[in-house]
Each structure stands twice: as structure tokens, then as C-alpha cells.
Amino acid sequence: MAFVVPKETYNGKVCEVEIGTGPRAVKIGGEAALPFLAFEGPVPNRPAIAYEIQDVPPDDWPQTLQDVYRDVSADPVKWAKYCQDELGAQMIALRLIGTHPDRQNRSAEDAAKTVKDVLAAIDAPLIILGSNNAEKDAQVLKSACDAASGRNCLIGKAQEANYKTVVASAMASGHKLIAMSDLDVNLAKQLNILITQMGFDKDKIVTDPMSSALGYGIEYTYSVMERIRSAALFQNDQTMSPPMVNDVGMYVWKVKETMAPEADQPSWGPVADRGIGWEATTATGFLMAGSDLLIMRHPKAVETVRKMIDELV
């Protein structure tokens, strides 16, 4: 008996979203099959990885991670160039964490200047992230969008509390948008509907299902992602068809497993390897659930996941 390959019939497909301009622009999404099952549907683009950089020195990152960027992290422009030119970053994600009221409370104008300077120094596509303070992000992202006009950036994150201003800003200067909801399929759908009702094109949205670290709720993100992707592919639910992004680094590099020295946790092994492995394994988990874009921090974790993607497609 020959094996009859059991293929799924997909009614929908994931939207394809292009980020950046010129020869280095990156397309994500576009697949009409579950993750890496190219035998049953087209998978035109591989998942992309963006290196995260910040507008202020990353004092709160674990030491093993801070050390990697020791020589460049005081200056976001240097940092961006290092990631692009030395580490071969496909994309850069600039997190304007210094604008958070509990951090340096940098102004929207300062943030805009950082965005301009970074964009002047790189030609890789740029993701611009706020500090995840919904109120402040509304102002900061507006200035950042203006400053990045014409560069087709990915702006984030629009959330229920601030989507109106963030969407308007992204729309006005022609950017793509990350829509993030709180780890729930229906909330993700609802936010996409609200955003498109404002006249924003659904083909310009990237969904952030809200990530979580390995060991700290990754299974929730994983299942929400599988359900979003199933809705897009099997039910052809247009409101669930944006590609998905996972903000991996910010969740991974604050859990105990990436921070605790071996002296405190002798049965866990060296913290340097543990942290890299934690980030790479978390990211690989998201790839299995349908991630199209990963925002990551450690070059060795990025290299591992890149190899994994090479071997998965």
C-alpha cells in the first residue's frame, strides 16, 4: 500500500506584509499552509528576525546580554549599525523604552530624533516600538511615525487603550502597524476589526498575540497563535489573517532562568548558555505555532534560530 499523504484544504491565506524600502525591504507572511508544511500550500517567505536595540542603555538587561553590546549600547545609532553591519541583522527593532514615565521619561521629540538618526544610519527595515505605556506611546509613536515618514516602518504597538492615535499616526505617514491584544483570540480579532474600521488597510497589520517566555506561559501564546492561524487558514477569517510577530527578547531576558548565576542555581548550569538557549527555544516554539517575525536580543540565539529556519524551509 502506498502512503496517501493526508493534506489539509486551506480556504484562506496569511496576508503578505512588506516592511522597509529598497533592496533590503523584507516581506513576511503570505503563507497558505500551517507552519513549514510547504507540501500542501505555498510558503513564499521565511520568518524574519529583527535585532532589538533601545534608545537608552539597557541597564535592566542581564549582564551576560549587556556585555554583548557593551561597546555600542550607549548610542542607538552605533548599536543599530553594529547589528546591521557586524551581526548581519535582517531587520532592526528600536524600542523607545527611555520614553517610559518610570524610566527616563524621554520626550516624544527626543524619541523622534533617535528614530531619525537611526534611520539615517541603516538601510535595513526598522520596527519602531514604544515603551508599552499606552498613554505615552500614543504621543511618542506619533512623533516617531512622522520622523520615519517614507521608510515604510513597522510601528508598535497599537493596543485597545491607544489604537486610535497610533493607527492615525501610522496611516498618516504610510507605515505598517503591530496590533497587540492580551493573549486572547477574540481580543486579537476585535482589535483588528476596530483598526480596519478606522480605514486602516488590513494588509498592513501584523498581529502581536502577546508573547511569553518559555516556562512562563509560552503555552498560552502558543495556543492563541495556533488558533489565530487556524482561523485564517481553515475558516478564511479575514480579520485573523495578518502575519504574527513575537516580541521574544523582552519576555525572555527577565525570567530567572536567563538571569540567575550558576552559583545560585547549581543544577541549572552556566547562565550564559542557559540564557541563549532559553531565548532560542522560546523563539523556536513560536515558529512552530506560526510566527512570521521574531524580535530577539542575543546574537547567538538569533544565529541558532536562523539556522533552524534554514533547515525548516
Binding site: A2, F3, L37, L214, G215, Y216, E219, Y222, V255, K256
Partner: protein, 447 residues
């Protein structure tokens, strides 16, 4: 594949005799379909019906046990492709590959024996050792197996050899331990099946690609041997995810029997990070046994966490036990916070309190694993219940103050709590855990 009540009904006597205790044959069929009754209850069931329903009630993916006693590992019997549909049933096993040419067989086996860690109240470990007959020598192989077993007496054993003499030399030491022999190919299937049968072992059946694999399993199962673990030869992640998905789908959605067995996956790579990531692919995408070349503790910690996470029941929130946890070097003047016992809530709050570097007491209250808002809405995190918990928790003997920090989302409870906890000051904390470091730092700076 599960049968519907109507399909089962067709095979019943249709006499409505009520001897089974149900009013009609159809009602009985419905109970059978729901697995709330067994066919033994029907005294008039035909042999044909018994054979048909017996075959249909076999799990679509056979369960395989490796090892004996309470440390035995059972894999297989999976029922779904996506964990949101239903809980993944039997967590995959991890195996460390040891070659009989390795100088440190005992040390490696000991690493398996010592691999147990505790995570969220579960004791988790690397369950298996896979001893490979790399030397090609029967005596060396038997010797290595003996050494490995004595260093890791609780581990299940995979014998990696296709050499009959070597297996015959090694198997006596594993009597009663249900090893897994790896394995049978088209060239040696008869010999390997005979060995497995004689020793009570299960058998890896290996062929390149699914056509060849199913031809071989059909041949072997036709002879009555069914304790099979599959290896389709996939070693690249792309082939793993494609082939394992096809195997699982064929078994579950098409009721295809020849590939209805657990899968063994070899995530062996010279780069330890790539090996870990490849193992992550295998865990997520349907492998039941994942063989590793190295189990450095940093690596297994991550893989054990991933396996535990993906195999949790999506319908039942993970819980931590009710307790007042000491964070850092908390003394009697350290702040006291209360939250619920949903494991995610606990982890996130604990993580942020740790990040604040402010030693604190974290009172985690039993709310059936619900998060703060849900528990509040469900009436499990009310002023009366929090007050009762704080009074009974014994925390008053640990601290010298009477101030309780409650989650910002239940700020509404603060007045009622002050009434129920006379003499206490109730402070409303931030709504989101990520604001805790700033909150706690400000608080201690002000004090």
C-alpha cells in the same frame, strides 16, 4: 478513530432487551460511543460486533511503555494535533545517547540518573538512556549496557544495535525492564521481531520515508507484533515536521493503522544550541521520544520546561500552592503583597518582585488557579476571603507591620478589606506586574 453512536448501533442486536441496563440498544450505543459503558454489558453481542468494536476502541496511536515499575515511561496514545483541542496525553521521553566506545559510559549514565529537577511542583527528568553499539563488538556492547544500567537504575533503556549477537549479549541484563530495541529495518525485521518478542521489548521500526515505513510496519504487525516505535529517517527539521505531521494526521484523522505508533526522533547536532532548538521542534511537533547527544543541565532545563508547558491541560489552569513566599532576604519589615495562585500570575508577579531587588513577602492565595480579575469576578478573591486567608496564613508572625499591598485591579476591595482586617492598612498596588519594581522601590525609598 472514534465511532459515533449510530455506527456502533448498527452492530448491536437491536432487540432493546434492556439486559445491559439501558432502555434501548441505541441508548447503549450512545453510552459506548461516549466510553461510559463497555460492550461486555451486552450478553447477546455477536463475535463480529466484538471484533469490530474491539478494533475501533484501540487508541489510534498505540501506547508503548519502556522500563518497569513506577519509573516506567509511557508514550503514545495521543488524540489531537493541536493542544487547544484537548490535552496532549503522554509527555515525550528524553534519551541520552551513549556509545559503547565512550570512555565515560558510567558518568554519562549517572548524568541521566541525576537529571531530575523540580518545576512547578512536578519532578521531571531525562527518562532514558540509549546505548549504541558503535564498536560493533557484542562483548563491549553488553558491558556498556551493564555499566549504564547500574549507574542509572531507574532509566529506561534503548538498545541501539541491529546486530543480533550484540543484542543477545546485552538483553539478559535487562530482563523484566522492557527495553526498546533500535531496531528493525527491512533487512533484519524477522530477526529483530523475534528478539523483541522473546525479551518483552518494544522495537523501533526504521525505513526511509513513509511508504517504505508503512510497508515494513504492515509486514511486522501482520505477524502479530505491535509494540512498535517509528523512525521515518527524518533528521532535518523540515523532514521531521512534515513526516511527523503526516503520521499523526493519518493515524488520527484517517484512522490509518499501519503508522499508528509513537515516533522516535534524533535531535543530535554538534552545535548544542541547534540540538536544543531541533529538540524543541520534535517536542512541539509530535515526537514521543527525543534522543539527545548531550544533556548539559542548561539545555535539559529548557527542554523539560517546553515539554511541561506544551503538555499541560489547556482547560485547567496551572496552579501553585497557597503559601506566603519569601522573596529575597525578606525581614519582618519587608512589604507584604497578596495575589492569586494562577501559576502565570504567580510567576510574573514573583519575577517583577525579584527584579525590584526589594526583599518582600508574597502571599499567594488559593483561587483555583484563576488570575486576579477572573478570581475577583468569580467571587474567589473577595475582601472576606483575602482577610480570612491573611489571618490564617500565619504571616502576622513573620512581619512587624500590618500593611497589605493588593493588586491594582481589585482596588475596589480596599475599603472592605480594612473593615475585615482591623488594624491593617491596605495599600493599592499597580494594576500590571511590570510596574511593581518602580512601585516597590518608591515604597522602600519613602519608608
Amino acid at each position: 478513530m472514534a465511532l459515533s453512536g449510530v455506527e456502533i448501533f448498527k452492530h448491536l442486536p437491536k432487540t432493546n432487551c434492556k439486559k445491559c441496563g439501558h432502555p434501548t440498544c441505541l441508548a447503549f450505543a450512545m453510552k459506548l460511543a461516549a466510553k461510559q459503558a463497555t460492550l461486555d454489558a451486552c450478553p447477546d453481542a455477536s463475535e463480529e460486533a466484538k471484533a469490530f468494536l474491539g478494533a475501533a476502541s484501540e487508541p489510534p496511536i498505540k501506547g508503548i511503555t519502556i522500563g518497569a515499575g513506577d519509573k516506567a515511561l509511557k508514550v503514545g496514545e495521543e488524540t489531537v494535533l493541536f493542544r487547544h483541542e484537548k490535552k496532549f496525553v503522554n509527555p515525550c521521553g528524553f534519551a541520552l545517547l551513549i556509545k559503547d566506545t565512550d570512555a565515560d559510559v558510567e558518568a554519562k549514565a549517572k548524568a541521566v540518573a541525576d537529571s531530575e529537577i523540580e518545576r512547578v511542583g512536578q519532578r521531571l527528568r531525562v527518562e532514558l538512556i540509549a546505548v549504541e553499539n558503535a564498536s560493533g563488538d557484542a562483548g563491549k556492547f553488553a558491558d556498556a549496557v551493564k555499566k549504564a544500567v547500574s549507574a542509572a537504575p531507574n532509566a529506561g533503556v534503548i538498545l541501539k544495535s541491529s546486530n543480533k549477537a550484540a543484542l543477545e549479549a546485552a538483553l539478559p541484563a535487562l530482563s523484566g525492564r522492557k527495553p526498546l530495541i533500535d531496531g528493525a529495518t527491512a533487512d533484519n525485521a524477522d530477526e529483530m521481531v523475534a528478539l523483541a518478542k522473546a525479551s518483552g521489548a518494544s522495537l523501533v521500526v526504521r525505513a526511509l520515508g513513509l511508504d517504505a515505513l508503512l510497508a515494513l510496519t504492515e509486514k511486522i504487525t501482520a505477524g502479530g507484533f505491535k509494540d512498535i516505535v517509528l523512525d521515518s529517517g527524518a533528521r532535518k527539521p523540515k523532514d521531521m515536521i512534515e513526516q511527523y505531521t503526516q503520521i499523526r494526521r493519518a493515524s488520527l484523522k484517517k484512522g490509518f493503522k499501519p503508522l499508528g505508533f509513537p515516533i522516535i526522533s534524533f535531535a543530535v547536532n554538534s552545535n548544542p544550541f541547534v540540538e536544543q532548538a531541533q529538540a524543541a521542534v520534535a517536542i512541539a511537533k509530535y515526537a514521543s521520544i527525543v534522543v539527545l547527544s548531550d544533556i548539559s543541565s542548561w539545555k535539559t532545563l529548557g527542554l523539560i520546561a517546553l515539554r511541561q508547558n506544551l503538555y499541560t491541560d489547556p482547560q485547567v489552569p496551572m496552579q501553585v500552592s497557597q503559601n506566603v513566599y519569601k522573596v529575597g532576604d525578606a525581614k519582618e519589615n519587608a512589604p507584604l503583597l497578596v495575589t492569586t495562585n494562577f501559576s502565570l500570575t504567580y510567576f510574573i508577579v514573583l519575577g517583577e518582585v525579584e527584579n525590584s531587588k526589594v526583599p518582600s513577602w508574597l502571599a499567594v492565595m488559593e483561587t483555583e488557579g484563576l488570575s486576579v480579575l477572573t478570581a475577583w469576578a468569580a467571587g474567589k478573591f473577595t475582601a472576606a476571603k483575602i482577610a480570612q486567608y491573611i489571618q490564617e496564613s500565619g504571616v502576622e508572625s513573620k512581619i512587624s507591620h500590618k500593611e497589605l499591598i493588593i493588586p491594582g485591579y481589585v482596588a475596589v476591595l480596599s475599603g472592605a478589606l480594612e473593615d475585615k482586617l482591623p488594624g491593617w492598612k491596605i495599600t493599592v498596588g499597580p494594576r500590571e506586574a511590570n510596574a511593581l519594581p518602580a512601585f516597590l522601590k518608591n515604597k522602600t525609598a519613602a519608608a
